[in-house]
Amino acid sequence: MTTTVAATNTDLERGNVGRLSDWLFRNPRYLLVILFIPPVLWLGVIYLGSLLLFLGHAFFSIDEFAGTIIYEPTWSTIVQLFQPANFDIILRTIIMATVVTIASAIIAYPFAYFAARYAKGKWKAVFYLLVMLPLWSSYLVKVYSWKLLLSQEGIIPSVLKYLHLTPLLEAFLQLPVIGGNSLSTSYFGTFIVFVYIWLPYMILPTQAALERVPLNLLEASSDLGAWPGQTFLHVTWPLALPGLIAGSIFTFSLTLGDYIVPQVVGSSTLYIGNAVYLQQGTAGNLPLAAAFTFVPIIIMLIYLSIAKRMGAFNAL
């Protein structure tokens, strides 16, 4: 048969590469195996492997006098987390991460809504540029710039002084907990810088989620008698929730793990990130550093399971 002959001929005309691709076409499972080996090696062995090796140290303890690790399984290091000094660090970090996340969500939502609903063509590009631009400059530069803005002789207090609003700033700094000697040494300063640094990570997923809410669903809701507020509550909000949750995972976990911002701007108190940094570095207490590292992981697991139970992923 002519067709069979033709098929065989083209098969023979091909080189080794051609034959290999033909073989992979007939055995797609091997293609998957070849594609998967590099990421599995990277994620499984190098990334997860070293992380697990490190986390495993949480179940060992340190010899206080010799400073060496005693390789005997024990809960004593984990228990140390609940000592007041350590537990304070955990609590402070969780509260900061929560407040930063909520503030980011409140600021990000109108931005994202505007970009998803009204920005078209060129304006959409401008929006992306504005949101992403801060991400292109160095993280350290941004944090130190904020220190300059917030410090006692910095730009913000100077502007307030020029406007004769210094008493207002002083009254604000008198407030318990969030106040301090100056904006740059207060919890409020840390909070502002965190929100500034992580905001793009909240805006982008929220915008993507809002963009996927079809306009005709909003029309349908209105058509069925829902007031704009009801449409927001029953249609827009639940459909945008996965985006906000995705964004909050970024802002929450990034705040939980950060150790630069609290060092540069704030009241020089410790956060989980600083604790890990100190314990595994200067203190050489690898087991306690590992125990601290467990905290954000467990908090995130709890957070995700609550989000799932709230139905955050139903619309996915």
Binding site: E219, S221, D223, L224, G225, W227, Q230, H234, P238
Partner: protein, 340 residues
């Protein structure tokens, strides 16, 4: 406030412009209560914009719309006693089928057990009683269509707007839904306003049809009227297919020198060698192409004068190149009022 009798919907000189685009231009229209009204036209002819004007998603640039005698300008969609079945259904993906149907009652504050009872009844009406727990994504296209219908009907609208509701369904399902929609409309007695670009759908379902072109209504009438007595060339051509005969062509046949339409099914095709049928008009032509369509065969024919005509034959015996006779009664010819 104008009260316009028993009209469900009334358009008076309505226009809707988008920048320089005149989507709807000077439309006057009365839709009677309890009527099954179809808006038919090619895409971009303004029929969907008219529907959106009734729903309240659009506001007219000029003119007035009244719904049951009440001026509708400035009234938001959530305050109108009309409901819409959307072209792509627009079901809420994060809610179950039952919650979708109960939505209109929920936002109006109907108690939980009452609204679920009514939603279930309406789902039974569209034969989806056991599908309440599912999500829209788990349903087929036809089932989603019924959910969209139930979601609108549960609110007991006085006018139901349907925006090409059967467009996404396959032919068999579409025909079935056409019958069901018509039955449902008779049963409920609600005014249906139905937008479609499918002339077969409009003719088979509607009590009256409005033909749209370029943002204006070209003709309104019963399906029979618009099919048998098209006002102009556009209607003749768009509703069913028709041979539009030029004044010169009519004159050459000894008829009035006017534009006329002649339906393909009203012409008799015979081989030129066979005896001519005893009808008033017979002309000779040559078959250019043959399109077999099962029950009938459609023939494209060129006459000796160079006019192209379409004819339908129940027999599939002709091939391209055959010389044939085309015959018809003068009474089958319909003169058009407007040339356009």
């Amino acid at each position: 406030m104008t009260v316009s009798g028993s009209n469900a919907v009334s358009f008076k000189g309505v226009a809707r412009h988008f920048g320089t685009v005149r989507a709807v231009d000077n439309v006057n229209l009365d839709i009677a209560e309890g009527e099954f009204f179809a808006m038919l036209g090619p895409s971009g002819s303004g029929k969907t914009t008219c529907l959106r004007l009734i729903a309240g998603f659009e506001q007219p640039t000029a003119g007035g719309i009244s719904i049951f005698g009440f001026e509708a300008q400035g009234v938001p969609p959530y305050r109108r006693s009309v409901n819409t079945v959307f072209q792509d259904y627009a079901l809420f993906p994060h809610m179950s089928v039952l919650d979708n149907v109960a939505y209109g009652l929920m936002v109006k504050g109907v108690a939980r057990n009452v609204r679920y009872k009514k939603a279930n009844e309406t789902l039974n009406l569209v034969a989806l009683g056991s599908y309440g727990e599912r999500k829209p994504a788990q349903l087929s296209g036809g089932q989603r269509q019924r959910v969209a219908l139930a979601r609108a009907l549960v609110n007991e609208p006085r006018v139901l707007l349907l925006d090409e509701p059967l467009g996404a369904l396959d032919l068999k399902l579409r025909e079935q839904m056409q019958v069901e929609l018509k039955t449902l409309q008779r049963q409920l007695g609600i005014t249906f306003v139905f937008v479609t670009h499918d002339q077969g759908e409009a003719l088979s379902m509607a009590d009256r049809v409005a033909i749209f072109n370029h943002g204006q209504i070209v003709q309104v009438g019963t399906p029979e009227e618009v099919y048998n007595r098209p006002r102009n060339r556009f209607v003749a051509d768009f509703v069913g297919s028709s041979n539009v005969l030029s004044p010169a062509f009519c004159k050459s046949l000894g008829l009035q020198e006017k534009w006329a339409s002649l339906r393909p099914e009203n012409m008799v095709v015979t081989h030129s060698t066979a005896s001519k049928p005893k009808l008033q008009q017979t002309i000779e032509g040559q078959v250019v192409s043959v399109h077999y369509q099962g029950a009938a065969t459609r023939l494209h024919i060129v006459t000796q004068r160079g006019n192209t005509l379409t004819a339908v034959s129940s027999k599939n015996v002709y091939v391209a190149g055959d010389v044939i006779n085309l015959s018809w009664r003068d009474s089958s010819l319909h003169y058009l009022d407007d040339a356009l």
